[in-house]
């Protein structure tokens, strides 16, 4: 481990040194067949060939180009590590690639994302895409990535057990208690409490639900009343048994399986779980409802904004850039967004897609989620996000497990963040 990391660090250094001293203009290489290859790195979408059809359509519009799609590991941590190694080594093996919303600032600062502003003006991005996602991809007035699809946290509830979704935290706790009383196999509310990125999402949603500010801005909301109240609330869910102990080791899939097996009344998850519960053979088919996350006072809650954008590799040959951007435009067009929504249930990042009647017809669930995406809020936008999240994960986990008081965990997190990044 130690050696490999040291070696890769050194190769990274020597490579960047080599590149900066030569500084030669790179030219795109054609394959023997005369076709120019464009390589797309993307995360697996699901069982359908809709994505491949989009790529073939691009090829027929651009004779002389062949598009190769290469899937990344579906774990976003592993994908991040892949990009860290490949892009630090100035890899030219791929031309466009998906970027998680929380990586954009980091990759832009590192110089790995081509500034797309000349070809995709920031104003155009502001006009076409959901306003809250724009702040994550347009940084310092420059476009670094084009949003592809968005994701957000929603509340799932069992329509056969409760008549309506709870609007407040008290409501949720009371309903869960009433229904699960005397039923040992049925848990109340499941959410993602394992020490990983999903926990950070759940905590930020609770902070906003307790009245935390919309935009973390310079601070990170760590030493605030809302943050302390949020951690107290999550910890009390576990301590009082409203959430089963399995929540402390659960990620998205674990909670989805618990919920889908009929062992929970409520679940916080991303919209993907709905399609799973409606699948043929699922015991919950037709018994699941979606609602905004509850809050302290009962106004609809804000989910965390997630999702993927397309960026262009800054290291690729100059004469390939225009084509790469054309491909990004093609994949993020309104038509393509609706195709992907219909085929994979991915929610478009474009505002105009939600106004298109075709979306309501072909992907009614996605269309119905539009208000949730409009309310979704970004996690702190900072180049240090991954570093920050690593600290927050450990401290949030300590608070919900009850081994540190929320105020102590938050104070520790704040001092660590400060030392590593100067933020907070």
């Amino acid at each position: 481990m130690r050696r490999r990391a040291a070696l890769s660090a050194l190769t990274g250094l020597s490579l960047s040194a080599a590149l900066s001293c030569c500084g030669t203009e790179r030219r795109a290489e054609r394959k023997p067949g005369g076709k120019l290859p464009l390589v797309v790195k993307y995360q697996p979408l699901g069982e359908s060939d809709a994505f491949q059809r989009l790529l073939r359509a691009f090829e027929s519009d651009h004779p002389g180009v062949t598009v190769v799609a290469e899937a990344l590991p579906s774990s976003s941590d592993v994908a991040h590590q892949f990009f860290l190694t490949a892009l630090e080594g100035a890899s030219q093996d791929f031309d466009i690639f998906v970027v998680d919303i929380v990586w954009v600032a980091e990759f832009a600062r590192a110089g790995w994302l081509l500034d797309l502003s000349p070809l995709v003006a920031p104003d155009e991005v502001r006009r076409d895409f959901l306003p809250n996602i724009v702040d994550g991809v347009v940084l310092d007035g420059k476009t670094f990535a084009v949003p592809w699809y968005v994701d957000t946290g929603v509340l799932y509830y069992r329509t056969d057990l409760v008549t309506r979704a709870p609007a407040t935290y008290d409501d949720l706790v009371r309903t869960a208690r009433d229904i699960t009383r005397g039923r040992r196999e049925l848990g109340g509310f499941v959410w993602q409490g394992r020490q990983y990125e999903g926990l950070v999402c759940n905590v930020y949603e609770a902070i906003w639900g307790h009245g935390g500010d919309a935009h973390p801005g310079d601070g990170l909301l760590l030493q605030t009343d809302a943050a302390r109240a949020a951690l107290h609330y999550l910890q009390s869910l576990l301590a009082s048994g409203v959430s089963p102990p399995s929540v402390t080791s659960a990620g998205e899939e674990e909670t989805r399986r618990t919920f889908q097996a009929g062992r929970a009344v409520f679940m916080r998850n991303w919209p993907y779980a709905f399609a799973e519960s409606e699948r043929a053979g699922s015991p919950l088919r037709g018994k699941v409802g979606l609602a905004p996350l509850p809050t302290l006072r009962g106004e609809p809650g804000h989910g965390v904004l997630g999702g993927y954008q397309f960026g262009v590799n800054a290291h690729i040959a100059a004469d390939k850039r225009e084509l790469a951007v054309a491909l990004v435009r093609h994949l993020t067009s309104r038509e393509a967004s609706i195709d992907l929504a219909a085929a994979y249930g991915r929610s478009p990042a474009r505002g105009d897609a939600y106004r298109d009647p075709r979306l309501a017809k072909e992907a009614p669930l996605v269309a119905a989620l539009a208000p949730a995406f409009e309310r979704a809020r970004p996690r702190p936008v900072t180049p240090y996000y991954v570093m920050l999240s690593d600290i927050l994960q450990g401290e949030f986990s300590a608070a919900i497990a009850g081994i540190r008081r929320p105020e102590d965990a938050l104070a520790r997190a704040a001092s660590l963040v400060h030392r590593l990044t100067g933020l907070g």
Partner: protein
């Protein structure tokens, strides 16, 4: 004649080690092209870093408990196999199965078992309703259990080889002297097995101290960093957060600990046993 060997050793072992040490004196965040010399700054922070001390404590605890359990259970299995039970060859092959499965695969399998609701092994053995991987205190022991399950066969096989090397004439002599089986074990078997026991303990200790994969797959160091070992902390700092300076300082500390353990072995072992 030694030159090629020394050159290779220097290239593959010494160079990266010294490179790590050199990196540990810098603030180096590759992603931001941020690199400057900070002297002992990383180490000064490390001494005050509660997370480092926590990781060190976790690592030491993991190493002590898992190695002790592996040696005891491994020795018991080796003695059983050495007693020539029926189908000995088959048994010897069978106990190796956990060792043969790649760690990541077996850890994934255990993770699935620990997080099932309700957790049951073959539908028979039922675990108490505890979030094994999510409750501080339990998660570390779950990781130790998986490590012991996986590595005991390896220990047993090494000790079995040691047992086979003890001349049978000594056992015959013990029988003639009227020694009990317990007495024979403590006066013949254990003293003659000591060199191989010591080597096995050393190998396992050094391995366990650098543990990464079992724990990472099970918990990623959670909950609340209570299963975070030094290797996991260093890995997260370097590969996830991209902070190579501080990550290297953590690696160097791990390296120093392993070096100390190795040195302790050479100091404490009688010369003829090494």
């Amino acid at each position: 004649m030694m030159a090629p060997a020394v050159t290779v050793l220097a290239a593959v072992a010494l160079y990266p080690t010294f490179a790590s040490i050199a990196l540990s004196f810098q603030r180096l965040i590759l992603v931001f092209h941020e690199q400057r010399f900070v002297g002992a700054g990383n180490y000064a922070f490390l001494l005050r870093d509660a997370r480092f001390w926590g990781a060190l404590r976790n690592t030491v605890y993991f190493t002590l408990v898992s190695v002790a359990a592996e040696l005891c259970i491994g020795l018991a299995i080796a003695l059983l196999l050495h007693a020539r039970p029926p189908a000995r060859t088959l048994l010897r092959a069978a106990i190796l199965v956990p060792w043969a499965v790649p760690t990541v695969v077996s850890a994934r399998m255990w993770a699935w078992f620990f997080t099932r609701e309700p957790s049951r092994l073959w539908g028979v053995v039922s675990l108490p309703d505890i979030a094994w991987l999510g409750t501080p205190g339990y998660a570390m022991h779950a990781a130790i259990l998986v490590d012991v399950w996986k590595t005991t066969p390896f220990v047993a096989l090494l000790l079995l080889a040691g047992l086979s090397g003890i001349p049978s004439s000594l056992y015959e002599a013990a029988v003639l002297d009227g020694a009990s089986r317990v007495r024979t074990f403590f006066s013949v078997t254990l003293p003659l097995l000591r060199p191989i026991l010591a080597v096995t303990a050393l190998l396992r200790t050094l391995d366990a101290f650098r543990v990464f994969d079992v724990v990472y797959v099970l918990t990623e160091g959670g909950p609340a960093n209570t299963t975070e070992t030094l290797s996991i902390y260093a890995y997260k700092t370097m590969m996830r957060a991209g902070d190579f300076g501080y990550g290297s300082a953590l690696s160097v500390m791990t390296f120093l600990c392993v070096l100390l353990l190795g040195a302790a072995y050479f100091v404490w072992m009688p010369r003829e046993d090494r």
